[in-house]
Amino acid sequence: MTERADSRSSRGPGLPGQPNGWSPVLVAGIGMTPVGEHWDVSLRNLALDAISAALEDAGGLRPDALYVANMLAPALSGQSHLGALLADFAGLRGIEATTVEAAGASGGVAARQAYLAVASGAVEVALVLGVEKVTDKDSGQVEAALATASDADYEAIQGVTAGAQAALLMRRYFHEHRAPQDALAGFSLVAHQNAVSNPNAMFRKAISLEQYSNAPMVSDPLNTYDAAPMADGAAALILARAATLLPPDGRPAVEIAGSAVATAAMAVHDLPDPLGLPAGAASAQAALERAASQVEQVDLFELHDRFSIFAALSLEAAGFAERGAGWLLAKQAEIALDGRIPICTYGGSKARGEPGAATGIYQLAEAVSQLQGRAGKNQVAGASIALVQCLGGSGATAATHVLRRMANGT
């Protein structure tokens, strides 16, 4: 503990690039539930499972505030006001609680709100929960609810779906960069391969290039293996300042070294450069700057592969590939667990499953377990810095975090 105190004081009055008085924020505990079609579990019980797991992992810290990431409960469960509902249901009645909504980026944005609260000292211990319950409604209703993340007056009214928007970007990307029809297959193949050993994954089965190439179209050129399955899930994080943490149990501490959210035009047609993913680029750059890290130092990148095209766009936006060259990384040697820059190390949205607003929390929890060496067969050897990015809509909101393993024994 002394070293940790020393490292704090050696930083002077605040963190680099942060206001004076801010303290380092650690992830004190993580909890994840299996992603899937949970006909027998309600939204509140999913939430409780994740919260209980995270509280147990954090070894007895009691949260002062709850940040719920959720997008679809008002539309699909007829339920808003999740802050109060879930704080009460989880045995935390009375604490500060609120819901954070930023479409598919809700998880990352909620984590940032909690980070800001804890870093500033306003909140001692924060609980961040991502929860989504999608299987109580049929697919048309789910598509319509998801389409509310696009422009209702100028996109959704035209019958736009999230998949169709990704398909429009994908076709344009193929056209501009002369990429072949199966250019993005590798993203799907690696995701499925990584999910085989993830007990929380929805699809624990590797797929072949042949299966990918013969898959039915969702919205051409986007096929079923380019699209992540929407499913139920909940995951939670406990954030605390280093000084608050109980004595360590031997596993390395993980710090949120950089946190950033950026937005861009919400409608795809309003983006001056629809393939540029400007919010992804801006938030990645800001998060890396705040962490005083370079993209070359990143050991793994949990990106948001809700549709395979976004893997290519995120890799380009974050600086792992030149513009138009992201698809060239869709290969084992580049992105597998032992590749140059491993992505989606637990299967990503494609194979772990896509639980909407909870995705950002799954990503962060998965990255923490990588940095703490708890990833078992999914372990990225020697991982010490992780970049984590989730996207809302077609990238109109991007939340990016840099997580860093702190030196052992501190």
């Binding site: 048309g140 035209q158 051409d220 047609h269």
Partner: protein
């Protein structure tokens, strides 16, 4: 019912009425009152020609509620000749294959119906440009 909501957008839906920025002359659709390029107020009405070309396209097989009776349907982003991109369905294709760069023009069609008692929402779609329109 949302009648007033669709009524408010009648000029955009039926006639592609947007704005032009008096400062930088950017043509803006949909209207947004503040120029996204230069940040100045932009409330000057601008009538778009309705002509453009396909920027990207796809087909929607898994339609959202309200659109399922038309599915599958072709969907595109169209680059209007005055500059802006617009998301819209394609129509009147017959067997014509869609390609990026294909010239198209705006027409008014039914966008969706909200059940037996609901209103029919009409608005713009785009069809392959007719030879007659090409000459104008």
């Amino acid at each position: 019912m949302e009648t007033s909501r669709h009524w408010r957008l009648r000029q955009q839906r039926y006639a592609l009425v947007g704005e032009v920025c008096p400062s930088c002359e950017l043509k803006i659709f949909p209207p947004r009152d503040i120029c996204p390029d230069c940040g100045n107020e932009a409330r000057t009405i601008f009538q778009f020609s309705g002509r453009g070309e396909v920027y990207s396209h796809t087909t929607v097989y898994q339609a959202p509620a309200g659109h399922t009776e038309n599915s599958p349907y072709p969907l595109a982003i169209v680059r209007l000749e005055e500059g802006p991109l617009v998301t819209a369905q394609l129509t009147d294709l017959a067997d014509k294959p869609v390609e990026i760069g294909m010239p198209v023009e705006m027409v008014t069609r039914k966008l969706r119906s909200d059940g037996e008692r609901g209103i029919l929402v009409y608005g713009y779609k785009f069809r392959p440009r007719l030879a007659r329109a090409e000459q104008s």
